[in-house]
Symmetry: C2
Subunit: 413 residues, 2 copies
């Protein structure tokens, strides 16, 4: 079993422009219940991590979302999360989660590093695990097992990621290539073999490299090779290791978050944060740490075979709803399936009548929605915006959303 | 020039279920401005016929639509219709149109026959022309020329129809096959040749037969043959000829409408109407008169090459809007065409943003409508119903609408 206390970190940022108009700037994706489960993605993430945490999870979010995040953390859904048995952090005001406000978006590395710096100040050897606030994960037991293995690998000093077993040649995800003993850090071959054996003993593997989203042909080669996993953006690492490695890569960033953490709990905190934060390098953890550390043989991977999706666009969401029919499907009226309705998923209260249609409908109004002969559409019906989108073009939505401001429609974002 | 006075008759019935939810039971197709012209289909029909009429047109409509029809007839748009110069009918209360109320729908023959009976009572030799209230016609001059020719052929004693030059192998329309001298009524071959020459002299031709909507292969043969026209449901005939022929085919129906007409203008009218109307045979003029008279060599056709459409469903409407860009197109916001918008027609006030989309949008709310990558869709956005329909399945809409009642959604029809 792992020895070091485990503190989940949840960077909750990103509007999710490819899920507009469900997601808006003021009400981003992580605050949404996209699957009709009764809990938002953030609440599901907290519920998933609660039983694994030794300390209250830290949610890092934009200052404009602190109020909404606080409300969701304190809601009855979040109450259902088992409280971490040993949570004792004096700094938290809510035992279910600590919420850190980012004065402005600086990508994921500053957010995670700030949380790591707070943890390091309190318990330098603690292991943090960073998990996106807006992903879906299917199997809690498999997830818990993989996190436990990752904590043990992190205690060996590695930056550890979970590698999701790919089930199709997805082009919307990044990939991780498994390495071998020789790719690990170590001054001799024997050292490296020993390091690999130690990783294997806890259920982990060396990582050779991270790969950006591939095109279709490359994704098919990755799938065929059997040595590539999907990158779910999950990182498990000792707080001190993360900050020391970051100090070697981007010294100012590590120094900045340690300065802010040093002021936490004091009267100067807000001043230090406001002064320091805007000067931190805006960079994703992938580029700041994961890629350079993989090249240096300091990244390990725990193979994980639970269902996972970043629900990055409406095509992904439609797939999720189709594969997990317990979620939102079957709601709505209309002729029964055998009566030529087709394959229509309904999320929300919408009353949907359909003939010969394949579609996913997100109904946020009390309007009746009728579909005839449509194929592969996502339809989002809200009070001020109606979206009709071909799932196969789902990635293009962000371009349309980006154009709203210059059309004087910025209030709809 | 024609000699007999000409009285247009406009049966205004039929909800237009394949244009739901634009058309509703309480607000049927003929009351709608489907093309953004500023005038409803009924108003356009009246405006088209006004300059040709010698007496006020007669609109026959369901009792529940009399109020709405009256309002449209009297609206500023209808005021723009040139008043018939010689309109003198004492029975009319509005010089722009006489409105006859049907107590219940009995298909087109009773409606047209009742109007014919009223005309016959006032001017037995007058020629009536029956025109649907909800069709679109493109070229007023060509239309006027064809009607004038049809009036002259009607004065020869024929039931005359306009045969629209087909421009594609449409499967949604009925067809009319041209005949020759031998198909005309006449006791000798010389009679028949003479009759044909008389028809040709006024620009008309014999009709061999009426054909119901064909399948695609048959429609292609019709188009290739060059002797088939589209049946626009336009009939021009002397009032007395229509009723005498009807008396031979369905005596009770002719007697019934003559009884009602005899009571018109008296205190007994409503009683006679209420008592007689429900007993009239519910039948379309095509089956009651056009088909049997064609078989008897008593139907003539005036070839007409103006643009015509019955706008029977959303596919037809989309085609109309696309071919007549002056109508509703170009409204709405969104990126310009050159910016990847695609081909989006907008009718109504809807503000539409589109990327790579082919669609027709009918916006009756102030919501922003966003389209991404959709092809061949019609989208109707109203306060209580949203319809998304694949144009190639447009005919199936009536099946969905027919199912609303049993789903407890009859109030949406």
């Amino acid at each position: 079993m792992p020895q070091a206390p485990f503190v989940p970190v949840i960077p909750a940022g990103g509007a999710g422009a490819r899920l507009w108009p469900l997601s808006r700037r003021a009400h981003p994706k992580f605050l949404l219940d996209l699957t009709g489960s009764g809990a938002s993605l953030l609440q599901q993430t907290l519920a998933r991590l609660g039983p694994l945490a030794d300390r209250a999870p830290i949610v890092v979010t934009g200052v404009e979302h602190v109020e909404a995040v606080t409300a969701q953390v304190q809601s009855p859904v979040a109450d259902a999360v088992p409280a971490p048995g040993t949570a004792t952090s004096a700094a938290t005001t809510d035992p279910r989660a600590r919420i850190l406000a980012e004065p402005s978006p600086r990508s994921s590395m500053p957010a995670i590093a700030l949380a790591a710096a707070l943890v390091e100040r309190e318990e330098p050897d603690a292991v943090i695990g960073s998990f996106a606030a807006d992903h879906l994960i299917g199997d809690q037991d498999a997830f818990a097992g993989a996190v436990t293995a990752a904590r043990r690998a992190a205690e060996l000093g590695y930056l550890v990621t979970l590698g999701i077993e790919p089930t199709r040649p997805a082009t919307g995800f990044g990939y991780i290539e498994q390495g071998a003993a020789k790719t690990l850090a170590g001054s001799t071959a024997a050292d490296r073999r020993g390091a690999e054996a130690a990783l294997r003993a806890v259920g982990a593997r060396p990582v050779a490299r991270f790969v950006e989203k591939p095109d279709r042909a490359r994704a098919e080669r990755f799938l065929a090779a059997g040595t590539f996993s999907w990158n779910a953006g999950i990182f498990v690492v000792r707080a001190r290791v993360l900050l020391d490695e970051l100090a070697a890569q981007i010294p100012g960033l590590a120094r900045g978050v340690r300065d802010i953490a040093a002021a936490h709990g004091t009267a100067e905190y807000d001043d230090v944060l406001e002064r320091t934060w805007p000067r931190l390098t805006s960079i994703a953890i992938d580029h700041a740490l994961a890629e350079p550390l993989a090249a240096a043989g300091k990244v390990a991977l725990v193979p994980a075979d639970f269902a996972w999706d970043d629900v990055g666009d409406f095509a992904a969401l439609a797939r999720q709803l189709r594969e997990a029919p317990a979620a939102g499907t079957g709601a709505g009226g209309g002729p029964a399936a055998g009566d030529g309705r087709g394959d229509v998923q309904v999320l929300g209260a919408a009353d949907v009548g359909a003939l010969s249609s394949t579609a996913t409908v997100y109904g946020a109004t009390d309007r009746h929605i009728a579909l005839v002969g449509v194929e592969g559409l996502s339809i989002v019906d809200t009070e001020d915006v109606l979206l009709v989108l071909a799932d196969e073009r789902a990635q293009e939505l962000s371009r349309l959303v980006a154009g709203l401001d210059e059309q004087g429609l910025g209030h709809l974002r």
